[in-house]
Symmetry: D2
Subunit: 424 residues, 4 copies
Amino acid sequence: MNIEKFQIAEFNQSLQQSHERNFHHIAENINGLPEILQKLQDFQVAIPSWALGTGGTRFGRFSGGGEPRNIEEKITDVGLLHALNRSSGSISLHIPWDIPENAAAIKALAAQHDIRFDAVNSNTFQDQPGQAHSYKFGSLHHTDKAVRKQAIEHNIEVIRYGVELGSNALSLWLADGSCFPGQLNFRGAFKHTLDSLQEIYAALPSDWKLWIEYKAYEPNFYSTTIGDWGQSLLFANKLGPKAQTLVDLGHHLPNANIEQIVSLLLMEGKLAGFHFNDSKYGDDDLTVGSINPYQLFLIFNELIEGMDARSMNHATDLGWMIDASHNVKDPLEDLLQSVEAIMIAYAQALLVDTKALQAAQQDNDAVAAQEILQHAYRTDVRPLIAQARLLSGGVLEPVYFYRKLKVREGLIKERGLKTVATGL
Amino acid sequence: MNIEKFQIAEFNQSLQQSHERNFHHIAENINGLPEILQKLQDFQVAIPSWALGTGGTRFGRFSGGGEPRNIEEKITDVGLLHALNRSSGSISLHIPWDIPENAAAIKALAAQHDIRFDAVNSNTFQDQPGQAHSYKFGSLHHTDKAVRKQAIEHNIEVIRYGVELGSNALSLWLADGSCFPGQLNFRGAFKHTLDSLQEIYAALPSDWKLWIEYKAYEPNFYSTTIGDWGQSLLFANKLGPKAQTLVDLGHHLPNANIEQIVSLLLMEGKLAGFHFNDSKYGDDDLTVGSINPYQLFLIFNELIEGMDARSMNHATDLGWMIDASHNVKDPLEDLLQSVEAIMIAYAQALLVDTKALQAAQQDNDAVAAQEILQHAYRTDVRPLIAQARLLSGGVLEPVYFYRKLKVREGLIKERGLKTVATGL
Amino acid sequence: MNIEKFQIAEFNQSLQQSHERNFHHIAENINGLPEILQKLQDFQVAIPSWALGTGGTRFGRFSGGGEPRNIEEKITDVGLLHALNRSSGSISLHIPWDIPENAAAIKALAAQHDIRFDAVNSNTFQDQPGQAHSYKFGSLHHTDKAVRKQAIEHNIEVIRYGVELGSNALSLWLADGSCFPGQLNFRGAFKHTLDSLQEIYAALPSDWKLWIEYKAYEPNFYSTTIGDWGQSLLFANKLGPKAQTLVDLGHHLPNANIEQIVSLLLMEGKLAGFHFNDSKYGDDDLTVGSINPYQLFLIFNELIEGMDARSMNHATDLGWMIDASHNVKDPLEDLLQSVEAIMIAYAQALLVDTKALQAAQQDNDAVAAQEILQHAYRTDVRPLIAQARLLSGGVLEPVYFYRKLKVREGLIKERGLKTVATGL
Amino acid sequence: MNIEKFQIAEFNQSLQQSHERNFHHIAENINGLPEILQKLQDFQVAIPSWALGTGGTRFGRFSGGGEPRNIEEKITDVGLLHALNRSSGSISLHIPWDIPENAAAIKALAAQHDIRFDAVNSNTFQDQPGQAHSYKFGSLHHTDKAVRKQAIEHNIEVIRYGVELGSNALSLWLADGSCFPGQLNFRGAFKHTLDSLQEIYAALPSDWKLWIEYKAYEPNFYSTTIGDWGQSLLFANKLGPKAQTLVDLGHHLPNANIEQIVSLLLMEGKLAGFHFNDSKYGDDDLTVGSINPYQLFLIFNELIEGMDARSMNHATDLGWMIDASHNVKDPLEDLLQSVEAIMIAYAQALLVDTKALQAAQQDNDAVAAQEILQHAYRTDVRPLIAQARLLSGGVLEPVYFYRKLKVREGLIKERGLKTVATGL
């Protein structure tokens, strides 16, 4: 299932007139348009390999058809997305679900699709067949040294895979925690985790980062050993400059002010990056921007303001990744919608009149501050995104194009109706 | 793995002296002791067949050993529990996980263990192999009539199985809902569900009940079609007197006052019964009483007060069932702890000085009301439960006995180390 | 402080060119534009009298200047708002904070400002000087008949005031509840409340409605006697056709799906109307649309769809009111922002392609449903609202105009710097 | 209103027999009883001066009678509590509500009642009459240097008051935050706060501590500048060894695992102490142990385990204070209940079999860990508390005694029926 350039060109042609009308309307009102378009073109969101297949819940899974059956097909899928939106130029692999047996071939395939390898992810929340020790009671925090050792070695192995592919970060999420009061000694668990992380940290190549994700709950339902940003930051500070905190939007207690957390982590130089998704209740892993797009905008507003204050490069100095699980949507359509939502929030944040906002903040003028933010938010920036995509060789309306070309039908023809992605 | 009477007798003998000391201490302070002991002996909690194996989360499952491999072994496990605590005298089956191919033999086996068949549970939240239509987008609320028909027929089939076994209630939990705004027309979903329920209701034998469970979220993460007690009650009222609302402790939004809900449902004559478990975050399905035992007591306090006001029989006029999922505990030990926690809350509620409480309420004397409730709650009622168990032929300390007799080791020897219960 | 027509005309003139450019851009893409503009002009949001002064929390209040000191000045303030946005054509009074001593004069004043009297609000959550019985332990649910009687009579008195002014609904919010387990008998409280409501219901004029608001918690922190929509609906159904449920956006437990509640209440013919505000944590009473504007849109989407299905008149068949409390903003600016946010959500909901949405729902096409909803939501509808305002004689940009004319400074000159609105 | 020793003796005599029976029953089962009784006698809980009058909500206040009208009467009230329970031997003052005009006289009065002065509290969340700058938009985080300076000087003044009275800690809670997105620059607010805190820190006497409280929300409803333990710890670490984090049980997002936070703060040597209360929804400030007593026990379990691991003195090495607000109870009765609940949780935690628990934790034996914890929790420790009280000269049943002696009636006779405590 390849997308040909002429197909894109034909499609774009058919929407050109309407697009130009919309683009010119917004363009006239924007200062620094070329710079904004360039930033939009540069911005890339990594696709996690596990989001390419239909997800599930503990109550069951309802697979879709044509899902990728191996790492090669996963790269092909990301290539498809990237061909359409030109904003999905990297993939984040998960070991052991996506072991690159032949790194050179895998890299060549990715290069063909203009795809980079983002952070690599380890997995110590499931037992693999033949594994010596079980992670039932945790991994890096385990009371048994042998289990910790196995988990440390797995992480170091994941780094090795990453080095071969040109990755430069290990993204680490631990399910370690407890389900019942008394089950765990919290300090002991913290100290074991720190010891384990220090061994992994020591194995990092000099230009690598260690991204430490936190999560309030699930799959453990009483405590999680890296449960909030404060705990993650404690670890990152004790480990050293390569260690940073990774924020996943769905990993908080109800009503948390995530934008404030982001701002403070950036201030401390300890924000690694983002796992984007949306949620209403818990770690629901829904399409980015499907539940609360204004919150996403507010987060981007803090990111841009904080990165600019530190002269950081938006496109390269933080990790941007989707982490969602698509239970009732076609995974590729869902990812197109998620990337679009991220680009919209980013574009809106770029439109905020920072100077006016700072003045309003200095005066405690909450009314003016809201007007300034909501003016940017209420602006229909879709023509800007579309224009950036057009300039990069993508399609004006990715979801529409995807359906018109019957991409899923093509994938089903190639791969079959009953496929389950590895790792799902 | 059979528990012999002499083993129980020997064990109890070893603890007899200490038990008597404790029992006599509390007994002297209690009015109406014989009646309370009788109520404790009469009270029985149904064990759901799916709680006999190790549960899991969407991130994985870590099975234990010696788990029951079929309906017969599940009944045997409940028999084991009942032999120990004499309070687990019924089982709640789940179709299609526990299809009773030979009802007569199954009934004979259950009778041997002094086990009754509680409500039967249908399953329209998973697709079974060979099923004509998928429940990916719901069952009784589905936009497609054919899917609804299939789900209705399944429920009617479950009733038939229940009739054969001597059950008298269909317990119905629907995962039907939506993951994204716009996916569902709420009114349409409600009306389809009502139509479907009416067909199922029409198929109920005259002495049967339909228990309608509600749940705020999961596995759907935007809306659930029967999402709270208000919606369940709407359905139950539209259906008729056989339909009632089932309350599961973990199926609420954060901070819900469940005891008030219970009280009002009882007032309306529409409380079907309970699914007991405990939780800190969502539907965590933890051991009953492991997180917030005071809440459990407050619920029982409302139940007893409300049932007494309607002259209901505590043991028989509501459905009492555990619905938990044991990810890190031996399932049988977990169930022993859960039943014990329920018995403790029930005993504490029986000790509440109702007249004094009513007087304090009449005077808006919140201090006295709290003293009265907490006096009952802080009383160590474990000797009462133990005494009731002793009178019924059970063991004084079930968990301790279970470990001393190495029951799990026996089950592993019989069934193997790697077993997964049907349905898990 | 009067706004003169020529001031509005001059101001609008200065923004005319830019407005027309924006309006024509959006107008070309919209079907049925005249009808939509008419609906936007017809739509009116009631202003509660207590929102015209600075609010406060239990930790203190920081008053602003020029606040209205009596009912006449409150009506003048609403008149100011309405002159600007032409969408605030009614006021909701609160007794005893706003007793209309001379109804004829008050009505004349309101008519002068083109202001109608929306629902009247009773207050049984505070003790007034000289009151015979205290509401410390509740009002309509009180264990003491004398307290209930006093509260019933107060409500009937409020109806009388409302009749004189031309109101046609009594809006009733009860703080009644309990702070501690055991303090209250839930059934007793429900029954007392029902008895009390029946007496009030009997006193309603034939064309009046009784709006029953619910709230999960605060100022009581254990239980609230009308705590959720299910309880409010129970009361409304037991009372009769004049009784309906009023929804306040901030009165729910965390993560509640309010749009589903709205849809079901509409389906049952029992939705009275809305108290608009926004919140992040609890009943924060923030500016409408300041925290989660997409949720507001989703609610309007259900309202429009549900009202259209019952052929209801958007403007007149439900009660639309703001209920916010402005702690750090100029109250009038805040209300202008709130009304604007409501109009935006309403306009976006009017743009939803209902037929396409229904088709997507029928097909369980969550991707398409989201595209359809978000297309309407992402459309910048501000030029539509501005145009409707222009057609009605209002100003293009109310907040900007308000500041440019230094309205607050004028009010301070008239009323003084240290004023506290009655009731605050 | 003085309690005479003979009154206590007579009262205790009347309950002696029953108490002895209960005490001996539990005493036989406990190892190290004398040491436990000594610890219970040594443990003292500070009473905040503002908890001695009836609290209120933003919706109103319903005062009780006989409330203390000045600092002297507040000390007298704490003296009353301490005479009864011998566990309330200190008071925490709040400036400017309780300015000690004559420190020597105040100290003499306190000494007479055997009362110590715990941490002093500053107040920058309300404006006082005649204050130069308003705290409407915050204090230590304010964008205006003059406001920050005023707030810094107030805190330094509070330290001076504390020094005179023999206090040795400044307890600081900031309401600083924002109500709307955009209102505040988070980094700017953090940095301003840090600068301000550094000035206050510099003014601390050498043996003093600075306790930094955090709170998730209220009275600000979008962000709080010291919003969670992670932020408080960041400040405390940047300030130095005298700065520590204070935990208030009601200041968290829903479902937070407070016991884990406590454990980690202790591990880092940064736990200052506790503000005890209970809550169901937010910062409800209810009686300690009235909603979730098991959580209180779990927190004490972590405290004792963590303090013992660092060889800390339970009674003196952390700050223990109640921070509640009594809206519907007699404040003194409420405080007696709160102190009793704290003593019960402490006693239960002392009974935990630490060695067995550690062994269960090492084995990941969640069932055994729960049995161990719940065995201690289910033990009726009230006779232990009563015995400790008896040994210290207190009364066996404080609430009962308080009512029997008609203490409130006496206070009303002395002070009048309509009194409002200063600061309320």
